[in-house]
Symmetry: C2
Subunit: 151 residues, 2 copies
């Protein structure tokens, strides 16, 4: 959604390509694939996938963008800087919207769960799929006996 949050000031140490990619992702506000990013930045001079992937790598390492593994897409972080490298996303099956949620201590609880199994957690991803509020209401009102296959 446009204008839901004042975007944090651009990081100082970003290079030109990194700034272009981050700016695009923040403007669009929804997940974009690397090649979609490339297409939209051709007018700015980007021409090859490697340029986009390099910028994305850096931005992801800085925590400014996140990769959505279940979609092979990238989205700008909507929270500030996170301390941990675990994100929680909810993804709408119908409209494709992605929303990053503030972890409510769940990642710490999951890390404890893993530790009981002998694992040391260094990072991770939580991607939940389903229906966003609007699409859920639409699906409920349009066809009451709708059935959706599992994950």
């Amino acid at each position: 959604m446009a204008g839901s949050e004042p975007p944090p000031p651009l990081s100082p140490a970003l290079t030109r390509n990194q700034g272009l990619v981050l700016d695009l992702l923040r403007t669009v506000g929804e997940p974009l694939g690397a090649y979609a990013i490339l297409d939209r930045l051709r007018s700015q001079g980007l021409r090859a996938p490697a340029q986009v992937y390099r910028a994305l790598d850096r931005l992801a390492a800085l925590g400014l963008v996140h990769r959505l593994e279940t979609r092979n897409a990238f989205v700008a972080c909507t929270r500030g800087a996170h301390p941990p490298q675990v994100t929680v996303f909810v993804l709408c099956d119908r409209c494709g919207a992605a929303r990053e949620l503030a972890d409510d201590g769940h990642t710490a609880a999951l890390a404890a769960l893993a530790r009981r199994a002998g694992f040391q957690v260094l990072g991770g991803r939580i991607e939940l799929r389903g229906l966003c509020g609007r699409c859920g209401r639409m699906a409920a009102s349009e066809s009451p006996d709708d059935e959706d296959p599992g994950p």
Copy 2:
């Protein structure tokens, strides 16, 4: 066409290709990419990626195998059949081991978290990365800059 044995613990209605893929994944016990599966099943007559992907799609829909999004790989389920649940995996950065953990109600808590944000959760994935017990001990006891992938 040769005398095939009745699959004893295997699921009821699996077709030949589905059985081959599931059997392989259960035997191997670790994540395999679709093309690795294909290579290992060429001797059984499989020749094209679509055959493997079709079998994997069915097996995943039945909950007998899971897809590891962060690795683009597939692994046999080590728990029974789960309902419509969310899976929790822990993946070792060093040896590649994947272990499926029993969710301790965390997925329900995450679904509640999502619902508070207006989202209806229909499924999802939790993939945590880090070090398994053995690799964690090795990394702790040896020098921190040691790197030696096992055979």
